[in-house]
C-alpha cells in the first residue's frame, strides 16, 4: 500500500514540478509580448508575438492559402517579409527558389513573429474571407466519394472563378486534436453565389474522416476562400483538353457549368480516369453538358475493369489515351486536376507534344 502511495506521489509531484516549470517558461521565455505587424505599408495590427505568421494572420481574418495546415509540407503559404522575419529556416529552404530567397519570400507557417514585422501580401487575398455556412446536403457519389453542398448565410455571397478552391475548417473532434484547414475545389457553378458543392473522397486522414464520419446535414461549417490560379481562361479560339481523376472532377465541372451557362462554343475533350464503372459519378450532369456545349466530348477511361463490368468504353489510365489522341499542341490548352503522380505524367506527355507552361494549367492535390 505504502509503495503505491509513494509511487503515485513521486510521479505526480515530479510531473507537476515539470509542468509548472514549462508553463512558467512558456509565460516568460516564450512570451515575446505585443508586436506591430504592418501589411502592405498601410494596415497596422498589434499582435501577440511568439506564434507563426500564418496563424497570426488567420487570427486577423487574413487568409493565406495553405493546404497542409502549417506543417511546412505544402509550400503554399508564401508571403513577402520586408522587415523582421529573421533568417530563413532550414525547414523553409526546400520550398523556396533562389529568386524567391532574393525577394525575401518566406513560408508564413514557419516564420515566427518575434519582432515588429513588415510584410507584403497580394491585395486580392484581402478579398478572401471566412464564411459561416450550413451543410445542406451530403450525398454518396461512389462508395468513397461524398458530395457536400454548403449553403452560405442569406446575406452572404461568394464570388469565384470556375476552377478555384476554398478551404474547409476541420474542427477538433474525437480523434483529431488540432484545428486545421484543408483545400477543396468548388464543383458548382460560379453563377450560384449562395452555395458551393464539394466532392470529398475518403482517405482516412483527419479531414476526410471528419467529413465522412462526423459531418451531418444541418451542421455549421467554416470555409474561407476563394483561392487558386487554376481557373477557366477565356481563349475562345483554342481547343480545350480537360483531364481529371477521382475527385479532381470538381473544378472541371465548375468550368463546364460556366461554359454551358455562357453558351461558350469551344471544342472540349474531357478525359476522366477511374478504376471501375462504380467510380464514375455525376453522369447526368455530364449528359447535360453534352447537350449544352456543342463540341463537348466526354471520354471516361477505366483502369481496373473486368469481364463482369461489361464495359465497352475506353480502358487504361488517362495518359495512355492522351498519348494516343493528341497529335500536337497547336491551338490547344490543357486543364488538369488530380493526384500529383497523374499530373506529373500527363504534363510530361503534353510537353513532349509541344505544350508549354503557358498552355497547361493544373491543380495538384
Amino acid at each position: 500500500m505504502e509503495t503505491i502511495l509513494i509511487t503515485t506521489a513521486v510521479v505526480t509531484g515530479f510531473t507537476g514540478i515539470l509542468a509548472v516549470l514549462l508553463t512558467l517558461a512558456d509565460r516568460t521565455i516564450a512570451n515575446y509580448g505585443e508586436k506591430k505587424l504592418v501589411i502592405n505599408d498601410d494596415k497596422e495590427y498589434i499582435v501577440n508575438g511568439g506564434r507563426s505568421l500564418l496563424s497570426t494572420l488567420i487570427e486577423q481574418k487574413i487568409f493565406i492559402p495553405s493546404a497542409c495546415g502549417g506543417k511546412g509540407t505544402c509550400g503554399y503559404c508564401k508571403v513577402k517579409v520586408l522587415e523582421g522575419g529573421g533568417q530563413v529556416l532550414p525547414t523553409e529552404l526546400p520550398w523556396l527558389t533562389e529568386e524567391e530567397l532574393k525577394n525575401n519570400i518566406r513560408l508564413s507557417c514557419q516564420c515566427k513573429i518575434k519582432e515588429d514585422m513588415k510584410i507584403y501580401i497580394p491585395e486580392e487575398l484581402f478579398n478572401v474571407r471566412e464564411y459561416e455556412a450550413t451543410v445542406e446536403l451530403i450525398e454518396d457519389m461512389t462508395p468513397v466519394i461524398k458530395k457536400v453542398r454548403i449553403r452560405l448565410k442569406e446575406e452572404d455571397e461568394i464570388e469565384f472563378k470556375p476552377g478555384q478552391y476554398i478551404q474547409l475548417k476541420i474542427p477538433v473532434y474525437d480523434g483529431n486534436e488540432e484545428e486545421d484547414y484543408r483545400a477543396y475545389s468548388i464543383a458548382s457553378s460560379p453563377k450560384a453565389k449562395d452555395f458551393i458543392d464539394l466532392y470529398i473522397g475518403y482517405t482516412g486522414g483527419p479531414a476526410t474522416t471528419y467529413v465522412h464520419k462526423f459531418l451531418n446535414v444541418g451542421d455549421t461549417v467554416y470555409i474561407n476562400g476563394p483561392y487558386g490560379d487554376f481557373y477557366y481562361r477565356d481563349n475562345r479560339d483554342k481547343e480545350m483538353i480537360l483531364v481529371a481523376v477521382g475527385t479532381g472532377i470538381a473544378p472541371i465541372l465548375s468550368i463546364l457549368h460556366y461554359m454551358a451557362e455562357h453558351e461558350i462554343d469551344r471544342k472540349v475533350t474531357f478525359y476522366f480516369g477511374a478504376r471501375t464503372p462504380e467510380d464514375l459519378f455525376e453522369m447526368d450532369l455530364i449528359k447535360y453538358f453534352e447537350e449544352k456545349i456543342p463540341r463537348f466530348k466526354f471520354i471516361p477511361t477505366l483502369s481496373r475493369v473486368t469481364e463482369e463490368h461489361n464495359w465497352t468504353g475506353a480502358r487504361g489510365r488517362v495518359n495512355v489515351h492522351l498519348e494516343k489522341d493528341i497529335e500536337n499542341a497547336d491551338n490547344k490548352e490543357a486543364y488538369l486536376c488530380g493526384s500529383p503522380a497523374m499530373i506529373d505524367t500527363v504534363v510530361e506527355i503534353l510537353k513532349k507534344k509541344g505544350f508549354t507552361d503557358e498552355n497547361i494549367f493544373y491543380d495538384k492535390f
Binding site: I6, V10, V11, L21, L22, I29, Y32, Q87
Partner: protein, 196 residues
Amino acid sequence: MIDINPMVIFLAAIFTNNMIFSYFLGMCSFITVSNEIPTALGLGQAVTFVTTATALINYLLYKYVLVPLNLEYLRFIVFIITIAAFVQLLEMIVERYFPSLYYSLGIFLPLITVNCIVFAVSLFMVIRNYTFLQSVGYAAGSGLGWTLAIVAMAGAKQRIKNNNLPKGLEGPGITLIITGLMAIAFVGFSGIVQIQ
C-alpha cells in the same frame, strides 16, 4: 560498481560500443537526416549536448530520489519525462536567447526528444552502475559516437548521390546496407576494451 577510468568509457562509447554500429539505436534520425554533412553535424552536436545534459540530470534524480525511495522501477517513466521536458525547455531558451544557434541547431531539438540514444544512455548508465564521472564520459562518448556515425553516413551518401542504384534500394535501403558494412568495420575495434 565497476572500476574503469571514465576516459576509457568515453572512448569505448565512441568506438567499441558505438550506439549505431553495435546497438543499432537512434536509427530514425540517423536514416532520415543523414543527407548532408553540415546538417548531420548539427544534429550530432545537438544530440551530444542533450544526451550529456539529460544523463547528468537523470543520474542525480536516480541516485538521490529514486534509489533512496526504492523506486528504481520508475526510472523508465521518470527518464522519459525528464528528457521530454528538458528538450522543450531547451528549445524555448535557445529560440529566445541564441537566435543564430536556433537557426543551425534549434530545429533539430524536437527530433531529439524521440531519439532513442538519449534514453538508452540514461538507462544503460544505471543498469551498468556507472559512477557520476563514468556516466558523464559514457554520455558524451555515446553522443560523439553517434555524431561520428551520422557524419560518416552523410559523407558516404553524398558520394553515392549520383550513382545508379537498384530502384528498391534507394533511400533507407542503401542506408541500412552501408550501416551494416560500417558496423562490420567497427567490429575491428571490439575487444580493445570491455565496459560492461
